[in-house]
């Protein structure tokens, strides 16, 4: 579904991605783990065309989207819940969700809203509340719900567990699994919280210094001694 081949991305002179190859197949949850500064978020943003890959190709459903403008990439069926959530703090929860539906057909707006509210009932209760007054977990739910409003076939999630309490993290990951299994949305998840993310993933990649160092099924990587030492032990 999404094939990334030899992607290099620069911030000025700094090479953030040094030839990343990975693949996300239809219906999967694929996780990308890595330390701070490994280039995880950069990869997600490069898929969305900001910053643009200076070399390599990004192919989504057979179309080379490497040079497409961001809004065209989103319209092609990719949605992103960005790093730091980036909800609209002065808009109500309901309006935030409507913002997510900007590119989709207004005919199925009501269906999409109901689907998101069913997924996150708390959002329905807070629908008239301003986004900025939500708790961190609720804001994350809102960011994911907003991304789902455009009926994406591929959902990109950038550190959904960032800064959340362990209970809330569990709930979010459970919902991500639901989204994948019941709604058939392919998920590409970038996480520092390696334990939860690997448990959830069908397949996973490890990003070190801007290139993929390891890959395998989530289970394999969880059992891998190197991974355990680098990402799992100590922290969890």
């Amino acid at each position: 579904m999404l094939t990334i081949g030899g992607v290099h991305t620069f911030y000025g002179n700094i090479e953030a991605l040094r030839g990343v190859d990975l693949e996300v197949r239809e219906g999967e949850i694929v996780t990308l783990i890595g330390a701070n500064g490994a280039g995880k978020s950069t990869l997600l943003m490069t898929i969305c065309g900001q910053p643009r890959a200076s070399r390599g190709t990004i192919v989504f459903e057979g179309k080379d989207i490497t040079r497409w403008p961001t809004h065209a990439i989103i319209r092609a069926g990719i949605a992103q819940s960005p790093e730091g959530r980036r909800i609209f703090p002065r808009m109500s929860v309901h309006e935030n969700l409507l913002m997510g539906a900007t590119v989709s057909d207004p005919a199925h707006l009501a269906d999409d809203l109901n689907r998101v509210y069913a997924l996150f009932p708390i959002l329905q209760r807070r629908s008239d509340q301003r986004g900025g007054t939500l708790s961190g977990g609720e804001q994350q739910m809102l960011a994911i719900g907003r991304a789902l409003m455009s009926r994406p076939r591929l959902l990109l999630l950038d550190e959904p567990s960032l800064g959340l309490a362990p209970m809330v993290v569990k709930q979010i990951f459970r919902t991500i699994e639901d989204i994948n299994r019941e709604q058939g949305v392919t998920v590409f998840l970038v996480e520092q919280n390696a334990y939860h993310a690997l448990k959830l993933a069908h397949r996973a990649y490890v990003l070190v210094n801007g290139s993929v160092s390891l890959s395998g099924s989530g289970r394999e990587l969880l059992a891998n001694a190197e991974i355990r030492a680098a990402y799992l032990e100590g922290g969890h």
Partner: protein, 453 residues
């Protein structure tokens, strides 16, 4: 941890006791006295050149005279005022800290809800009221023109968050297009109005393209330059615009073909003869009043409607977070251009109205100060608030008229008023944002509960 802090609910930092500027052993009056003395010194420096000298017509030209008593009054009053302020400050701090989230803000919010319909009814009835003479109507037309301009600029600045310091350029384009079309092609007001709006919108797009990548201060500078460019072009393109002399003899509006006159120029009916009433010069003024009222209300209606549509929401989204907007598939280029174009279009409409009301346009009417006043209306009203624009326009345009008897000190009083507004309501008179769409009925308690986790 919430990375996206709510902008409007963030209450001012809790007031701390001001750290003692001097060791506590000294006399408690010393600090306020010193503060007052510094203020008095500043007042002295300002007052000497401003009020200390006066030019009087003498036998051989102008003679310079001094008036030290005035300077003394200014310095002493500043000293006393500052001293009182310094002494009263600890008492005043406490209630101010919570003002934004407290009942005052809610009262404003509720007031804004019923204020709108009442204001519209009042505006509709105004020309029929007994005290509505020519002067009142003229001032009202002026205020309404600025309300319309404020609502137009509110789309660009308040909703889309693009700081535009050259808005008057589009007002000028509208006025000149109306004038030129009416003079050269003999088109009626109702033909020229949409054309003028279109021209202005085109100029809005022209400005939009080069400034799309700019934000904040940089955008402000470029738009400021654009506004000046249009004015300079109007002055120098003598063949087309008649330069600094302006366009005169622009046709006055007619009541759908019926002129406002005692006797029609080429025979036929006039407004008064058609309706069988006695001719009064007030008819035209009242017609102009209703015309601008309708135009302004159309602007408002348009804005209220478009805020509920995806493009209106996209404007607001762009103001809050451009990166988030991109990640939602919104095309920022098109969104900004539509904001510029639509804002400019309404300025164009207002410009045509201005031209037909005055019958004369010249570049002087479109100087930077006009842009500044319109922007001040939007900012003082509370960015994005429609009712706020009305209140601010009445205060800013009507205010100087009310204090006209102050003569030379009019602008001084006006400036002081603006400072006071910014002290009391730093985010504007009506600074809150209601959701455009609600799911359930409006709850009586504050809908934006302070739930945080």
């Amino acid at each position: 941890m919430s990375t996206a802090a709510p902008i409007a609910t963030a209450a001012p930092a809790p007031a701390k006791a001001p750290p003692p500027a001097v060791p506590p052993a000294r006399h408690p009056l010393l600090a306020p006295l010193r503060e007052a003395a510094v203020a008095a010194l500043v007042a002295l420096a300002v007052a000497v050149p401003l009020v200390g000298f006066e030019t009087v017509q003498g036998a051989s030209g102008l003679v310079l005279r001094t008036r030290w008593s005035w300077v003394a009054i200014a310095v002493v009053s500043v000293f006393i005022g500052r001293l009182l302020l310094a002494l009263l400050r600890p008492v005043r701090r406490q209630p101010r800290a919570r003002k934004d989230a407290g009942p005052a803000a809610r009262a404003f919010r509720d007031a804004a809800r019923w204020l709108g319909p009442i204001a519209i009814l009042l505006a509709l009835a105004l020309p029929l009221l007994p005290f509505a003479d020519r002067y009142i109507l003229d001032v009202s037309i002026l205020v309404l023109t600025y309300i319309m301009l404020g609502w137009g600029l509110n789309i660009v600045v308040g909703l889309a968050g693009l700081l535009d310091l050259g808005y008057v350029a589009f007002y000028a384009v509208g006025a000149y297009s109306y004038g030129l079309l009416a003079l050269n092609f003999d088109l009626s007001f109702w033909m020229c109005l949409p054309l003028a709006g279109m021209f202005a919108a085109t100029f809005g797009m022209l400005l939009g393209f080069p400034v799309l990548r700019l934000r904040g201060d940089y955008l402000a500078i470029v738009t400021l330059g654009f506004g000046e460019m249009i004015r300079v072009i109007l002055i120098n393109w003598y063949k087309l615009t008649n330069g600094p002399n302006g366009l005169s003899g622009i046709p006055r509006p007619s009541f759908f073909g019926l002129p406002f006159a005692t006797t029609p120029a080429g025979g036929g009916e006039t407004f008064s003869s058609f309706f069988g009433i006695a001719y009064s010069p007030l008819h035209r003024v009242i017609f102009l009043y209703y015309l601008i009222l309708v135009l302004a209300l159309l602007t408002n209606l348009f804005t209220l409607r478009i805020r509920k549509l995806p493009v209106g929401r996209a404007w607001e989204g762009l103001r809050e977070d451009e990166i988030a907007c991109r990640s939602l598939g919104i095309n920022p280029t098109n969104t900004k251009l539509t904001a510029f174009a639509i804002g400019a279009m309404f300025a164009g409409f207002a410009g045509s109205f201005f031209a037909t009301r005055q019958g004369f346009v010249s570049p002087e009417s479109f100087s930077f100060i006009e842009s500044a006043i319109i922007l001040a209306i939007v900012v003082l009203g509370g960015m994005g608030s429609q009712v706020g624009v009305v209140v601010a326009a009445i205060v800013l345009i009507g205010g100087p008229e009310l204090v006209r008897q102050l003569e030379d000190f009019r602008m001084l009083a006006f400036g002081g008023l603006m400072v006071l507004i910014m002290i009391w309501r730093p985010r504007g008179l009506l600074a809150f944002r209601d959701p455009t769409i609600r799911l359930g009925p409006r709850r009586t308690a504050a809908p934006t509960g302070e739930h945080r986790g």
